[in-house]
C-alpha cells in the first residue's frame, strides 16, 4: 500500500474545506453585530414540536427549486455510495455542511447536533466490522488486545473497511440532511407526485407525517399540563404521570385526528391531498452550486480511484 499517495490525495479535500471556511467567515462577518442566541426550536422542553419542518421553513435556501434540491441530494447520495471513496465522501460532508449552514444559514450547533443523532447507530453497527475475535494473535494486526477468552483484533483491512463505511454513511446522511433541512415536507411530496410515485404511497406518507406531529403535539400538551400540576417532582410520580399520559395519548390523538379529517372532508377532500405550491424557478446561481461541486466530486473520484473495492 502506498501511503504517500494518500497524503497527496488529502489535498483534494482542501478546496471543499476552503469553501466551508470561507462560507463560515462570511456568515460570521454578516452576522457580527447580532447577538448570538439560540432560536426557540430544537429539542427544548415544553415547546412546539415541528422542529424539522421549522428548520426547512427558516432555511435561506428554501426558495431554491425543490426538484433541483431533491435531485441533487439524491445525486450526491449516489455518488457517495457508488464511488465508495473516502475523499469523495469527505468532500461531500464538507460541501453539504457549507450548503446547509452557510448558504441555508442554519445554526452550526444545531446542525452538528442533528448529525450526532445517527452516530449511535453507526457506532453500534461498525463494532462488528472493526473487531475480529481469535484464539491466537494475528501477526499483521494493527492491535491485538488480549482478553481472558482470546484476542480482540483490529487488522488494517477491518480498519479500512470501518473508515470507508463511516465516510460513506456520513456522506450519505449529510446529503440527505441538506435536502430535508431545506425542503418543506409538502414540497417533497409534491416532487414525488410529479415523479409519478403511486398516489396511495404519497397519501400514506403525508397522513403519517401529519399524524406523527399530532401525536407529538398532544403528548407535549399533556406533559406540560402534568408538569404544571407537579406531576414530575419525584421519580415515582414521574413514572405515574408518564403512564397516564401515554395511555391517554392514543385516545386523544385519535380524536384530534378525526377532527382534522372532518375539517378536510368539509373542504371536499376526496383522497387526494394537494396544495398549491409556489413556483420556484431554477436560477443560474442555484445551478452553479450544483454543477461545479458535482463536477469536482467526479474529478476527485476519478483521480483517487483505487480499483474496485469489493470488501465493503
Amino acid at each position: 500500500m502506498h501511503y504517500q499517495y494518500h497524503v497527496i490525495y488529502l489535498l483534494w479535500l482542501l478546496p471543499p474545506l476552503a469553501v466551508l471556511i470561507a462560507g463560515g467567515i462570511r456568515k460570521a462577518w454578516i452576522h457580527r453585530h447580532e447577538e448570538h442566541h439560540h432560536h426557540g426550536f430544537g429539542h427544548k422542553h415544553g415547546e412546539g414540536t415541528l422542529s424539522i419542518d421549522m428548520y426547512a421553513y427558516h432555511s435561506k435556501i428554501g426558495s431554491w427549486n425543490p426538484k433541483l434540491k431533491i435531485g441533487y441530494g439524491l445525486l450526491l447520495l449516489l455518488i457517495c455510495l457508488i464511488s465508495n471513496d473516502p475523499y469523495v465522501s469527505f468532500g461531500i460532508i464538507f460541501y453539504t455542511f457549507f450548503v446547509t449552514v452557510c448558504l441555508g444559514e442554519l445554526d452550526a450547533d444545531h446542525y452538528i447536533g442533528l448529525l450526532g443523532i445517527p452516530l449511535a447507530f453507526m457506532i453500534a453497527g461498525s463494532i462488528f466490522i472493526l473487531f475480529n475475535f481469535s484464539h491466537t494473535p494475528f501477526s499483521n494486526a494493527l492491535v491485538n488486545i488480549p482478553t481472558h477468552w482470546g484476542y480482540v483484533i483490529i487488522t488494517p483491512q477491518t480498519a479500512k473497511a470501518t473508515v470507508n463505511l463511516w465516510c460513506k454513511a456520513f456522506g450519505a446522511i449529510s446529503a440527505m440532511y441538506m435536502m430535508s433541512l431545506s425542503t418543506m415536507s409538502n414540497e417533497i411530496f409534491g416532487v414525488l407526485r410529479d415523479a409519478h410515485c403511486p398516489k396511495l404511497i404519497i397519501e400514506l406518507m403525508n397522513m403519517m407525517y401529519r399524524f406523527i406531529f399530532i401525536l407529538m403535539d398532544t403528548q407535549h400538551r399533556m406533559k406540560n399540563s402534568a408538569e404544571s400540576r407537579l406531576g414530575y417532582t419525584t421519580f415515582k410520580r414521574a413514572i405515574y404521570s408518564f403512564g397516564s399520559t401515554a395511555s391517554n395519548l392514543f385516545l386523544v390523538s385519535m380524536k384530534r385526528g378525526t377532527q382534522f379529517y372532518d375539517a378536510m372532508e368539509a373542504r371536499c377532500y376526496n383522497g387526494d391531498l394537494r396544495f398549491f405550491e409556489e413556483k420556484k424557478p431554477v436560477t443560474k446561481q442555484q445551478l452553479f452550486w450544483v454543477i461545479v461541486p458535482t463536477a469536482y466530486f467526479v474529478l476527485v473520484w476519478v483521480m483517487t480511484f483505487q480499483g474496485v473495492n469489493i470488501n465493503v
Binding site: A263, C268, F275
Partner: protein
C-alpha cells in the same frame, strides 16, 4: 333576495355511532339567502353536530337537507355540491389548518373543487386580500397568532366561494381586538350577500349582529325569531340558560323603573342606544 330557502333542513336526526344518546332530535330550519343567523345554546346542545350534518361530513339517521331546492342525496357528487356550497370555519383553527404555508392552506379547498391552477391562484389571492393576509402568504400557519389563524381558516372557506358559511364559535379564544376584526370581517361577508350561520355564547354579539336567533337545547330547536322576539321570551331563556344581553337588560330596567317609555325600541348596539336616549330626552 328570493323567497326560496337556500338551505332547508327537515326533521334531521342524528345519533353518534357507539352511543344511544340522540344528539339531534328532529331539527327543522329554513335558511334564507343572505340571512345572518346566530345559533345559541348550551355546550352539548348539538350545535356542532348540526353543523357537521349540514355540511355533509356526518350522515343523518333520518331527515332531509335541501340545498338551493335540490335534495341532498347520500352520494359523492351530491355531498360535494353541498360541501362546496356550505363551508365551515371550525372552532379550533389548529384542527383545521393542514398545510405548511398559508397559501397552500387556502388553496386546499379550491384544488379539491378541481379548478385549474390560474383560478386557484386567483381565488387564493382574493381570499387572502379579503382577510388582510397577503403579507402572510408564504408563512407557516402554525406559527401565526391565534387571530391570524382564525383569519386563515376564514380565508380557507372564502376561497371556495361558498354561499353559506358556518362559523363554530368564532369568537372563542380571541382577544377583544381580534374579535372586533372578526366582526368587521363578518359584516363584510354579510354585505356580499353570503349567508352566515354563527354559533356563539356571546349574547351581546348575537343581539347586535344577528337578524335571526336560533336556540338549541338538548338536540332540539326551541325557538327561532329575531333576537328581541326570542330573548323577551322568558321561558326560552330559562330553558336554554341564556344570559340576556347587557343593552337589553339596561333597556328593560329603564322601562321598569319608568325612566323610559315602554316603546319596544330595543336598541341593539351602543350607537342605536345613544340615538334612542337622545330621542326619549327630546320627547
Amino acid at each position: 333576495m328570493s323567497n326560496e330557502a337556500i338551505l332547508r333542513i327537515k326533521d334531521l336526526k342524528y345519533t353518534y355511532s357507539g352511543g344511544d344518546h340522540q344528539a339531534l332530535k328532529g331539527i327543522s330550519l329554513d335558511v334564507m339567502p343572505g340571512e345572518r343567523i346566530c345559533i345559541v345554546g348550551n355546550n352539548g346542545a348539538g350545535k356542532s353536530t348540526f353543523f357537521l350534518n349540514v355540511n355533509g361530513v356526518l350522515h343523518p339517521d333520518s331527515g332531509e337537507i335541501y340545498f338551493k331546492g335540490q335534495k341532498v342525496e347520500d352520494n359523492r357528487a351530491s355531498l360535494n355540491e353541498l360541501r362546496r356550497g356550505v363551508g365551515i370555519v371550525f372552532q379550533d383553527a389548529d384542527n383545521q389548518i393542514i398545510a405548511s404555508t398559508v397559501m397552500g392552506e387556502v388553496s386546499f379547498g379550491p384544488i379539491n373543487l378541481g379548478l385549474d391552477d390560474d383560478e386557484v391562484e386567483k381565488r387564493v389571492d382574493e381570499a387572502l386580500t379579503e382577510m388582510n393576509l397577503s403579507e402572510f402568504k408564504h408563512r407557516a400557519p402554525h406559527y401565526c397568532s391565534g387571530g391570524e389563524k382564525k383569519r386563515i381558516t376564514i380565508a380557507d372557506i372564502i376561497a371556495m366561494h361558498s354561499e353559506v358559511i358556518i362559523f363554530d364559535e368564532p369568537t372563542a379564544a380571541l382577544d377583544p381586538l381580534n374579535a372586533k376584526m372578526l366582526e368587521e370581517a363578518l359584516t363584510k361577508l354579510a354585505d356580499q350577500h353570503k349567508t352566515l350561520l354563527i354559533s356563539t355564547h356571546d349574547m351581546d354579539f348575537a343581539y347586535r349582529w344577528a337578524q335571526k336567533l336560533v336556540v338549541f337545547s338538548d338536540g332540539q330547536i326551541i325557538a327561532t325569531g329575531t333576537p328581541v322576539e326570542v330573548l323577551t321570551n322568558e321561558a326560552v331563556c330559562e330553558q336554554a340558560n341564556l344570559r340576556k344581553p347587557m343593552l337589553m337588560r339596561v333597556y328593560e330596567d329603564m322601562v321598569k323603573h319608568g325612566i323610559a317609555p315602554d316603546d319596544k325600541a330595543y336598541p341593539q348596539d351602543v350607537a342605536a342606544f345613544d340615538h334612542w336616549l337622545e330621542s326619549i330626552k327630546a320627547s
